[in-house]
């Protein structure tokens, strides 16, 4: 791979961002802990009855995962903005959308992937029936990249704001609600013995659309925010 080519640049960015997460791997655990805590609180609030918990299990896990991802979303561009690296990316000869796509990929790999890996643990905490677990994992695998992608566009719009925390959540949530409805809906359908492929296919379709459009939108939003 020739240094300076677009593929070399993408790999260099991927490697650098993964290295940065590794250097601060303590921080990377925060979303995991948050999701576990949120899920663990529900049996305390609702009582330990398995029937009650298993009814809400899929949806609760989905919400916990989504909120955990929102926590780390704010930091997506922050450090790059503060030390001037973002400027260098914008000025580089490579398509900004592709470079942002790499950053979004790292965000998903370091936040969502661990969450999906511990999803079976969360499922056990809430007594999710075993037959629903594969559907839950598939739905999470489809919905979490959607959240990273749509979230990145919203982060690009609020980049550089000092107190953007709640605003970012307000911006992302309406846009991510359909993914939540369909993702959790698929799990609940599977749990009750109904067909569940339709919502999963919808999720997949939106994901494909977002994979193409979201990086472009994030690049455009970033250019608006940086002027």
């Amino acid at each position: 791979m020739k240094p300076g080519s677009t593929s070399a640049a993408s790999f260099a960015l991927l490697r650098r961002d993964l290295l940065l997460v590794w250097r601060r791997r303590g921080d990377a655990l925060n979303p995991l802990l948050f999701a576990i805590i949120v899920v663990a609180l529900f049996p305390f609030a609702l009582g330990p009855e398995a029937a009650v918990l298993s009814r809400i299990a899929a949806g609760t896990i989905f919400v916990a995962v989504l909120l955990a991802m929102l926590l780390s979303l704010d930091a997506l561009f922050r450090s790059d903005l503060e030390d001037g690296s973002l400027e260098q990316l914008v000025v580089s000869p490579h398509p900004l959308a592709l470079l942002l796509g790499c950053k979004i990929l790292v965000h998903w790999m370091t936040t969502a992937l661990p969450l999906i890996v511990i999803a079976p643990l969360l499922a056990q905490l809430l007594q999710l029936p075993d037959k629903t677990l594969p559907v839950l994992l598939t739905a999470l695998a489809l919905a979490t990249p959607l959240l990273s992608l749509i979230g990145a566009v919203c982060v690009a719009l609020t980049v550089g704001m000092r107190r953007s925390g709640m605003l970012l959540t307000l911006l992302v949530l309406p846009l991510i609600v359909p993914a939540l409805i369909f993702g959790a809906g698929a799990c609940n359908a599977a749990q009750n013995g109904f067909a569940y492929s339709a919502p999963l296919l919808w999720l997949a379709a939106w994901l494909v659309l977002a994979l193409i459009l979201a990086p472009l939108a994030a690049a455009a939003a970033l250019k608006i925010s940086l002027t």
């Binding site: 609020t158 605003l167 307000l170 359909p178």
Partner: protein, 253 residues
């Protein structure tokens, strides 16, 4: 050049727009008031009581026009936002941002009146069916746009960022409109259509259309008024704004 196109270009200039809007505002408000009064009279007195719901259905005359306006306002905001983003026209940015709070208010009224209507009719203040849910999501989208606009200091950059967000959220609009058809919902199906016969009695229909017209006129009046104020703020250093102030200061360089 075509005089209409010329006038359109002139309208983009803030001082001209300020005068133009100021001239038309009282007439628009008057028209909205009169049509609103006529429509309300028809809604409350002339229209016969519904055979199923009795008189409680009359809240429809507030609920439905507000629902239509909530969606229309979003389209207006997104269209102006698009123009403002692509062609950097200050007036479009201003109009887009001015219509956001108005649209949010209409959406809020829709939700509240819908809730008041739902209680006697369905027995519940709220339900999470597709139309209500997407209307609530629309309200949150409005809040997001307004919130983002107020969070950025540079007014023009703020307008561009908020307009961008509005365009992203526009996907939600068809979902709101078609949700009654796509999913079986508790909410009643569409009865008024733009083409073809409507499924509602004519004596009930005309007050509804009159009120719909009145709310549209009111929307434009409100947006024009807000835009005038916003333009004054945006252009506060300029000569044309200074010229509007009463001449009490001593001359300076």
């Amino acid at each position: 050049m075509n005089p209409l196109v010329l006038w359109f270009h002139k309208l983009g200039s803030p001082p001209y727009f300020y005068r133009f809007a100021g001239k038309w505002l009282p007439w628009l408000y008057a028209l909205a008031l009169i049509c609103g009064a006529v429509g309300l009279y028809g809604a409350l007195f002339t229209a016969p009581a519904d055979y199923q719901q009795g008189d409680s259905f009359r809240i429809m005359y507030v609920h439905v026009p507000c629902a239509w306006m909530g969606l229309f306002a979003y389209l207006f905001m997104a269209a102006n936002g698009f123009v403002g983003l692509v062609w950097r026209i200050k007036l479009s940015e201003t109009l887009a941002m001015a219509s956001a709070p108005v649209g949010a208010a209409f959406t809020f009224i829709t939700l509240v009146t819908g809730s008041l209507w739902g209680k006697p009719t369905w027995g519940t203040w709220w339900t999470w069916d597709a139309r209500l849910t997407s209307e609530l999501v629309l309200l949150f989208l409005y809040f997001g746009v307004i919130g983002l606009y107020h969070a950025i200091e540079d007014r023009r950059q703020a307008a561009r960022a908020a307009a961008f967000l509005a365009l992203i959220g526009i996907v939600n609009l068809p979902i709101v409109h078609y949700s009654v058809i796509w999913w079986n919902t508790l909410h009643q199906a569409q009865t008024v259509s733009l083409v073809g016969p409507s499924k509602i009695a004519p004596s009930m229909l005309w007050p509804l259309l009159t009120l719909a017209f009145a709310t549209h006129v009111y929307f434009f009046a409100s947006v024009l008024a807000r835009s005038r104020v916003a333009l004054l703020e945006l252009e506060s250093g300029k000569d044309w704004v200074r010229a509007l102030l009463p001449a009490t200061e001593t001359p300076h360089d």
